[in-house]
């Protein structure tokens, strides 16, 4: 095994054999320290994101007094951080599957017990009072003695319903109009097809936020300002180019043979579209539906500008005004509203994460 020329430019004398074991050990430790450095870096940069979200959850389930407490946060971190490290160690050290499961169960039990002992007594659901009490703001204020508040809140279910209505009807309309248009653009030959595809490309990248001033004036002049219908129309139009773009990609991927055999069997183009091609792009429809829904659910700037009456509030406006009104008084309720608002969009995102890659490219978020 004597190599005349070794790595790193070391010319070993022919008599002394190369110590391969030592070199291997050095390479191993090099690799290990590199991995540790990588993990340390990523954990360090991710903490500023993880901690605030975690804080939000702990406050929502534990805050009692006016101020935002961090005691519960640190206690839960004190339980969870060692638990995560122990999980990781168990996964690395376990020799076989049985040991792994034993270790994980033991750690989970210990962590649950520690959590119940340290944090359990502080947990409660009273911050979710806004779910049952429309006038929760006065209740919250009376707890600390302050009486007056500037804002009259509608019931949270009203805002929830409005958000659902906007996001839901936006989704249905966008899905219908976009799949019709995308199918035609993908499968039919007509004059001006190239020009239309070109303008679709431009529209799909066009920043719609720049149109907010003329859009406001337009809605005012046709009398749709401060109506949910007006907002839905605007949001539908703005989502459309992107949805058509994505759907066209999915239609392009459907093989022609399927359609040809449908036509040979006597179907019309419309029947072929509805009964044969549309089922083939189910994934695309699902992806566009989920993302349009999330966009409608999260929408803030257009609803903030176009909707005024509090019966028209969506969840984002409800959240905004709760923050404005009772922020200094009760962090618990604010974060409970936050959790209530955040959970649906997180669930949808996780469910549709497979499509995130191709969809997020056209997003307008900075």
């Amino acid at each position: 095994m004597a190599a005349p020329l070794t790595f790193n430019g070391i010319h070993s004398s022919p008599t002394a054999p190369v110590d391969w074991d030592r070199m291997a050990a050095r390479a191993r430790s090099m690799r290990r320290s590199k991995a540790v450095a990588l993990y340390a870096f990523l954990i360090a940069v991710s903490l500023p994101i993880i901690l605030p979200y975690f804080w939000l959850v702990t406050i929502a389930f534990s805050a009692r007094t006016g101020v935002a407490d961090t005691v519960v946060l640190w206690r839960s971190v004190a339980v969870l951080a060692p638990a995560v490290i122990a999980f990781w160690l168990a996964a690395v050290l376990a020799r076989n599957r049985r040991q792994l499961w034993l270790g994980l169960t033991a750690i989970a039990l210990a962590a649950t017990a520690a959590f119940a002992w340290l944090v359990g007594p502080d947990l409660h659901l009273r911050n979710f009072i806004f779910l049952v009490e429309p006038d929760f703001a006065s209740v919250v204020r009376s707890r600390v003695g302050a009486v007056h508040g500037a804002i009259q809140f509608p019931s949270v279910w009203r805002a929830f319903g409005n958000s659902l209505l906007i996001a839901g009807s936006q989704t249905i309309v966008v899905l219908t109009v976009a799949s019709l248009a995308a199918y035609y653009l993908s499968r039919f030959q007509f004059p001006a097809r190239a020009a239309m595809l070109r303008s679709l490309l431009i529209l799909h990248a066009f920043p719609v936020l720049t149109l907010i001033v003329p859009m406001f004036l337009m809605l005012y002049w046709i009398g749709l300002l401060d109506t949910l219908f007006g907002v839905i129309c605007v949001l539908v139009a703005f989502e459309l180019p992107f949805a058509i773009f994505i759907m066209k990609g999915f239609f392009d991927a459907v093989p022609w043979d399927i359609e040809m055999s449908a036509l040979t069997d006597g179907a019309s183009r419309r029947q072929a579209f509805l009964l044969v091609v549309l089922p083939q792009v189910r994934n695309g429809l699902l992806a566009v539906a989920v993302f349009t829904f999330i966009r409608g659910w999260e929408e803030y700037i257009f609803v903030f500008t176009f909707l005024i009456r509090n019966t028209n509030w969506t969840m984002s406006l409800y959240m905004y005004y709760v923050r404005d009104d009772v922020m200094g008084v009760d962090y618990g309720v604010v974060s409970a509203v936050g959790v209530f608002y955040l959970v649906p969009s997180l669930i949808l995102y996780v469910a549709a994460q497979r499509y995130l890659m191709q969809m997020s490219i056209g997003g307008v978020k900075g």
Binding site: I49, P52, L211, A237
Partner: protein
């Protein structure tokens, strides 16, 4: 006799086909064209028209003038400051977060195993996935200028400060750059990750055999492969940073005073806070032109030939 009927049948068939062609066009493309025309073309026309009027808080047009444009080019003393801030904000966020940090995240997470890398990418997607109002709420709590603020709990002991730090008044521009950057970094991260995954593995092995270290591999293999993704992210994010002001409006409301009012937010504040709709429309026109230009530039990133692939069925 039969030739005549054949001709008639064919003519009738042609006519029916033409009718079907037209109804199909209206049926399939009609709604999309109508909506696009109503909500993209007409607003732009309205914007141009309104920018030549004196439309204000009363929402009534009394005369047509060019005074809004005179104001843009001469009268508005605040505009130079706003434009300067916009340049700092856009290129600061882009250079620090959207491109550089996105690249760092993509490089580090792709060199871990799949599960851990996915976990950290998921964490960095969290800000993008949460509604804007909620995301900014968390920022307001973190930078809370009292000793309960999360940041102050770390910084006060670490830097030995006597009084809690108030980033909102002491470093507002840095604050909006960081708050937007946390969201912007994830787009670069996703796109760069996909691009890195697409690099053939054997190139790395070959480089390793040639004695390349980690940095050399990044410098000579990964970065050259990322040239197009990097320019794509740069153009798209420049555009979206230029026109979006949602997070700034929620976080600082453009304040203190006008310290964090970028151009897009300045348009919004002029139109909706001061009620100068005519002036707002004139300012917005510049953004619309820039947006359209950047969208045109975005063409280069799409394979138009593939988009245009010709239909293979002639039946209507």
């Amino acid at each position: 006799m039969s030739a005549v009927t054949d001709l008639a049948v064919e003519r009738r068939y042609r006519a029916a086909s033409a009718v079907r062609r037209r109804t199909n066009f209206v049926l399939f493309l009609g709604p999309a064209i109508a909506l696009t025309f109503l909500f993209f073309v007409i607003p732009v026309l309205i914007d141009i028209a309104v920018s030549f009027t004196d439309l204000d808080r009363t929402l009534r047009i009394s005369k047509f003038t060019t005074e809004q444009y005179q104001k843009v080019f001469r009268g508005d003393s605040r505009l130079p400051q706003v434009i300067g801030l916009t340049v700092v904000y856009v290129f600061g966020t882009l250079a620090i977060f959207n491109v550089t940090f996105g690249l760092v995240l993509a490089l580090t997470t792709t060199s871990l195993n799949k599960v851990s890398g996915g976990f950290f990418r998921g964490v960095w997607l969290l800000p993008r996935m949460s509604p804007s109002v909620l995301y900014i709420l968390l920022w307001l709590w973190v930078i809370n200028p009292s000793d309960v603020g999360l940041l102050n709990q770390f910084l006060m002991p670490a830097l030995g400060l006597a009084r809690p730090l108030d980033l909102m008044t002491s470093a507002p521009v840095a604050l909006i750059i960081i708050a937007n950057g946390f969201i912007g970094a994830s787009l670069g991260m996703i796109i760069f990750t996909a691009a890195i995954r697409g690099i053939p593995e054997h190139l790395f092995y070959a480089a390793e055999v040639d004695g390349a270290g980690t940095l050399a591999k990044i410098r000579f293999i990964t970065l050259p492969a990322l040239r197009w993704p990097i320019s794509f992210v740069t153009i798209y994010q420049t555009l979206s940073l230029l026109v979006s002001f949602e997070y700034i409006l929620l976080l600082t409301k453009g304040g203190p005073f006008y310290d964090t009012t970028v151009f897009a937010l300045y348009v919004y504040r002029r139109a909706f806070t001061s009620g100068q709709y005519g002036y707002g429309a004139a300012l917005a026109l510049f953004l619309i032109v820039i947006g359209a230009a950047a969208a045109l530039l975005g063409w280069r990133f799409f394979d138009f030939k593939r988009l245009l692939q010709h239909p293979r069925i002639e039946v209507h």
